[in-house]
């Protein structure tokens, strides 16, 4: 899709003027929020680097921040960014990159406005780190695909209207080559969402059972058999989150630890002091590393440090919250509530220390285990030989599972 009504060099000033004009026409305090958001999309001020007609103006990527800030300052309604993090962060760029023109028009507007929440149906009980080993099948039946399988770790599925799905369309092809990528209607018959209770007691994620779910072929993204490449593109967008703005000192799990230390001098011991200071230094080092990575990315050098930052933050979250429990002593033996329920999307820093200790165990698993990320660093950064594997050229159906 090309746009004709976008000035070739749309700058920050032009955008500021457009925002101002838009706000003059649509007073946030009197316009109905969903109406406001739809109009903002139509005006190309949703994601300004998207093409005209799809919520953008073909502007440079870096200009979005100022536009968002101007809307926020004016008290404009939000588009549910935390609830629709998968939709905005991962589904949208994939739809834009691999979708047809009619798919763009069908899904992007209601995605951006937050009217439709999206979820991601990739991981399976048998396919975690090895995503390409997934077993959910999609069998062609005329203009439709019939899908059967089980997905897991699906956040937001209980809120979602649409899901992005990778399924196996050719079990006799090698694992990476037999996959296709679909958009599934989460309200379609045969889609069942069940909360997946986790060790904190809550059900933050879901299992999604797909039983003879029919997906029209026009909900396929990319070619049949191209699913792995499309999914890689989706996941690539997962890892762009770092950078932008100064990270505060003592952010992350060291914050409540240091606060507890300052507030409870009676709990101080030399041994705990030493451990806390070590974690403080490591956290500050990790912060500066993330800052430096952000600067590299801003300078157009998209270094591979991101994997290292994720490994480090996972470890520090775990060690800091564990030490905080020791510092709490007897209080560290208590827990707020293990009752099964759906958690709010909220700031971890406000949760109980014991809850954080448990929740942070997942930090080194979700979004790439620390072990897989070490492989990534070793192989892609240091250039060491890849792990021996025998699963790349064998038909998927013949692999050990």
């Amino acid at each position: 899709m090309t746009s004709t009504d976008t000035p070739p060099d749309l700058g920050a000033e032009d955008l500021a003027a457009r925002v101002e004009a838009f706000l003059a026409e649509h007073d946030p305090s009197t316009t109905e929020p969903s109406e406001f958001l739809r109009e903002r999309f139509a005006a190309g001020l949703a994601w300004v680097h998207y093409p005209a007609g799809l919520g953008g103006l073909g502007a440079a990527n870096g200009l979005q921040t100022a536009v968002d800030a101007a809307f926020a300052e004016a008290g404009a309604p939000e588009n549910r960014p935390r609830l629709n993090v998968i939709g905005l962060g991962m589904a949208a760029p994939t739809i834009l990159r691999f979708g047809t023109e009619s798919q763009h028009r069908r899904w992007l507007p209601s995605l951006w406005t937050g009217e439709d929440i999206w979820c991601q149906l990739f991981s399976e009980p048998g396919a975690g780190s090895d995503l390409a080993g997934l077993a959910t099948s999609a069998v062609r039946d005329g203009d439709e695909w019939v899908v059967n399988g089980q997905k897991v770790w699906t956040s937001m599925a209980h809120h979602a209207r649409w899901g992005i799905l990778v399924a196996r369309t050719d079990p006799s092809a090698p694992k990476h080559r037999g996959l296709s990528y679909f958009v599934v209607d989460m309200q379609a018959p045969g889609v069942e969402v069940r909360g997946l209770r986790q060790i904190t007691g809550e059900a933050e994620f879901n299992e999604v059972f797909l039983t003879d779910v029919r997906i029209p072929d026009d909900q396929r993204l990319g070619e049949v058999g191209q699913g792995w490449a499309v999914a890689q593109y989706t996941l690539m967008n997962e890892r762009v989150a770092i950078g932008g703005g100064t990270l505060p000192r003592e952010s992350g799990a060291v914050g409540p630890l240091a606060a507890r230390w300052r507030e409870h001098p009676e709990a101080h011991t030399p041994g705990l002091h030493d451990r806390m200071l070590r974690l403080w230094v490591q956290t500050e080092a990790a912060r500066l590393t993330a800052e430096r990575l952000g600067q590299q990315q801003a300078a157009g050098q998209p270094g591979p440090e991101g994997s290292g930052v994720k490994i480090t933050y996972a470890r520090l979250n775990q060690e800091c919250s564990s030490l905080e429990l020791e510092l709490r002593g007897e209080d560290g033996l208590r827990y707020p509530d293990y009752t099964e329920r759906r958690p709010e999307v909220e700031d971890y820093g406000r949760r109980d220390a014991a809850w954080r200790y448990l929740r942070f165990r997942a930090n080194s698993i979700e979004g790439g285990t620390s072990e897989i990320l070490r492989n990534v660093v070793a192989e892609r950064v240091l250039g060491l030989p890849a792990e021996a594997r025998a699963d790349k050229d064998v038909p998927w159906k013949d692999l050990p599972r």
């Binding site: 780190s129 011991t269 007897e330 072990e371 792990e387 692999l399 050990p400």
Partner: protein, 375 residues
Amino acid sequence: MSAAAPTPSTPETGDLLYSDVEEDLRASVRALVEKQAPWDVVLARTDTEEPVDTDLWKRLTQEIGVAGLAVPEERGGAGASWREVAVVAEELGRAVAPVPFLGTVVATALLLGTGEDELLAAVAAGERTAAVAVGATRGPGRPVPVTVERQGGGDLLQGTVTAVIDAVTADVLLVPVSGTEIAVVEAGVDGGGDGVTRTTAESLDMTRRLTDVTFDGAPARIVAGADVEHALRIGAAVLASEQLGLAERCLADTVAYLRERHQFGRALASYQALKHRLADLWVAITQARATARYAARCAADGSPDLPVAAAVAAAHGSEVALLAAEDSLQLHGGIGFTWEHPAHLFLKRARAEALLLGSADHHRAVLAELVDLPA
């Protein structure tokens, strides 16, 4: 701290192996626990209002006699020793069995010093359940938060003790009121006796829930001859064996899972980074076994080295059990993070145990005094 301080002398090591009798005892306990309290049963119980498996406890005490092992025969026990107690602790730790064994160990150690033979015999027989009302994190050497009011008709107890181990189903509470005296308080069942209020706390460790106990003029019998520090030390020594059992279970479960789970066309167990991690864990566990056995041996023989042995076993055991539980969850990946997998039962137990009866940090500080390595 003189300039020519001698190297500490080396106490006799004693027998660190398991005797045939101990192995038989282990087999009995394991068979019963595996039958009556496999992990899914233990997990299901945590969502109920009855966190303690009183039926299992009854069978452990009455069929196997686990509560009387360290009690002499002439005082109503089995006349074994703390060594055998430690073996039972290993098995119960391996199963995260929700029974009041640890509390009973400390209570028994306390009663052994007193003349309360009737109560001791009843506890040893599993007819009564006693808990020692001290805060769960309390290592040897911390103050006692209750006061005794001497009244005409008897003594009344006043005060609150929070986070008591194994008091959920205890019908008698032993409350240290000085280094050598305890108050014996009838606690009743299901909530409390006269002047006693018990509240079961929502606890990090779901399989060993703690109790806050308030005494508001509770009638008490003051008993002399109790060595509170010694009893807590025995508790710490036995806890190290429980941690050993837990760590062994975590390693075994993880090895089994990694052998079975395939990713990228290979069993996870074939990846060298994971192999080395498990090897390191195995090495740490062999050390936890040696230190726990030595502490149990010192407890059994009344060795003067018990304070050192218990501190070493507790400091080391806490860290090994936590490492094992954390590694186990991590290496199980996503499944280990779910409620329906047992990994979290062990993680929560291990994380809590690392604070129970003194943290590793506390035990190292104790050790610094004992072996003349002052701060």
